[in-house]
């Protein structure tokens, strides 16, 4: 305590008024902080998608993403629900297509770095996950035949397809649906969230630049200390994206409506196994088989019932609501949930990872301050250039 005070005083007298001071961080804490970076990571590459990272495919993907003709009634595009101006979500607690959906629309920031997709992880690749909304009746309600016809009949899209894939549009509709999804995936993988106040702090700590690190406010620092310390948050919210990419149960009610539950990961694994577009199927472009490791080895566990994917916390302060069901409205409510969660709410008798933290009001505001330091304004997005001018 005294050392902390002393360093605070030293700092206060030696540096300009802008700095508030630095907590007395241990070496272990600095290592834990370091693991949440660097940011941004290198561009994502998906070996199961032969046009991953290909500029012409990224361009085609962006056009398709904004094209309502992929939907049955010609009125709904991916961008209807994943809006650039709303951090690639829709500003609603739960999605809405041709009917109410049961889950919140996730942001697409950094989605190229994930390995399971959707709240239940039913998708094992970004391209397979991009097929789902096209075919789902409650979403775009389209079909392979309609996607095939669109790619063949629209001159600009047909030309964009040829540039992206190196061959002319064929007449196999299912293959064209998959290729459209692969272009959509190539585009979505470029959506990388901006650097944040946290990243500046993390880099300064790693570099030993105390003056720069002290620009991170004391509430933010205290919240971070809770996050990597007593809160145990970083066992699940691990790494640069603040997620380990797997699944957990933090005690959120899973009733969709009376008598009907969202079984989360358990149902997701069943959908995965039954999906002809999964990575074990014939549309995986990775001949080595390495990209299918997780799909091949994943096992169904009793504890999967009521588990949902651990969400990334980058840009988390910008979400319209929280959790798979959108059932919590603010970050303060989320933190209150972790502070008060009753062990009886957990759906499996398993892990002691989530327990009521009993936070004081100041600790709660600190944790919210920290979580709010994980987002930043992204530069506005220019309209995509024409495909084949």
């Amino acid at each position: 305590m005294r050392r902390f005070l002393l360093s605070l005083i030293l700092l206060a007298t030696s540096s300009p008024a802008a700095t508030q001071g630095l907590l007395d961080w241990s070496q272990d804490e600095v290592s834990a902080i370091e693991r949440h970076g660097p940011w941004p990571p290198p561009p994502a590459h998906d070996p199961s998608n032969r046009v991953s990272g290909v500029p012409a495919a990224i361009a085609l993907g962006e056009h398709l993403f904004n094209d309502p003709r992929l939907s049955a009634d010609g009125r709904m595009s991916c961008a209807t629900c994943h809006q650039a101006g709303r951090d690639w979500s829709d500003g609603r607690a739960r999605g809405f297509g041709t009917a109410d959906l049961d889950r919140r629309t996730p942001s697409l920031w950094n989605v190229g770095y994930a390995h399971w997709f959707g709240w239940d992880g039913a998708g094992d690749s970004l391209w397979a996950q991009s097929i789902r909304p096209i075919l789902d009746r409650r979403e775009m309600g389209g079909s392979a035949a309609e996607v095939g016809r669109l790619l063949r009949d629209d001159k600009a899209l047909a030309c964009g397809y040829e540039r992206a894939f190196g061959n002319k549009v064929g007449d196999n509709d299912e293959r064209l649906l998959v290729d459209a999804a692969k272009a959509l995936a190539a585009f979505q993988a470029t959506l990388v969230s901006p650097r944040t106040r946290f990243d500046a702090f993390r880099d300064a700590m790693v570099a030993g630049d105390r003056a720069a690190a002290a620009r991170y406010t004391l509430p933010e620092q205290r919240g971070l200390r809770l996050f990597i310390g007593t809160g145990n948050c970083d066992t699940c919210h691990f790494g640069p994206r603040f997620t380990n990419g797997e699944f957990g149960d933090v005690g959120i009610a899973f009733f969709v409506r009376p008598g009907e539950v969202d079984s989360g990961r358990l149902g997701g694994l069943a959908k995965l196994a039954g999906n002809p577009f999964n990575l074990l199927g014939r549309y995986n472009d990775d001949a080595s088989g390495a990209s299918a490791q997780r799909t091949r080895h994943v096992q169904r566990l009793h504890a999967n019932f009521g588990e949902f994917r651990v969400p990334s916390l980058r840009q988390v302060g910008r979400a319209a609501a929280y959790m798979h069901s959108g059932s919590l409205a603010t970050l303060d409510e989320v933190v209150r949930h972790y502070s008060e969660v009753s062990p009886d709410r957990l759906h499996s008798d398993g892990t002691p990872l989530v327990r009521p933290l009993g936070l004081s009001p100041r600790q709660r505001t600190d944790l919210v301050a920290f979580l709010s330091s994980l987002d930043a304004d992204a530069p506005p997005r220019p309209a995509p250039p024409p495909l084949c001018p």
């Binding site: 066992t235 691990f238 790494g239 380990n244």
Partner: protein, 133 residues
């Protein structure tokens, strides 16, 4: 260090152990042993990262020099009371060599690896702890 010393003592005391090739190609790895078995293994890739699939390469030896079988490889986090979300598969090579594919340690912390081996009738479980950061 203590393990190494014990290992050497063991190696010199038992001629059969001396034939057990512990090097799995990269010059590093771990060795676990019991009264009957000595098992050397290393991960591939060499560094285990949280959430990233990896394989383990094994060399299984028995004191009596009789052939041994690697039955199963699994891992749990004892403090968190949960298993891996993935089930490894085992591929047998020649001369006691095995490969387990599809392991993923999805959280930082302590993971306890269990290795089930059998030679003849008796099977046995050997364990090894990893601390993942």
């Amino acid at each position: 260090m203590k393990i190494l010393a014990a290992l050497f003592a063991l190696l010199f005391a038992n001629a059969a152990w001396a034939d057990c090739p512990l090097d799995l190609g990269k010059g590093t790895g771990w060795v676990v042993f019991s009264d009957h078995y000595m098992i050397a293994f290393r991960p591939e890739p060499m560094r285990i990262e949280v959430g990233q699939p990896f394989s383990l390469l094994f060399n299984v030896c028995t004191k009596s020099n009789s052939p041994a079988e690697l039955l199963m490889v699994d891992a749990t986090m004892p403090e968190h009371k949960h298993p891996m979300n993935y089930r490894p598969t085992i591929v047998a090579g020649t001369n006691g060599r095995y490969r387990a594919d599809g392991l993923v340690f999805h959280m930082p912390g302590r993971w306890e690896l269990s290795i089930d081996v059998r030679a003849g009738e008796e099977s046995e479980r050997l364990t090894h702890d990893f601390i993942l950061k």
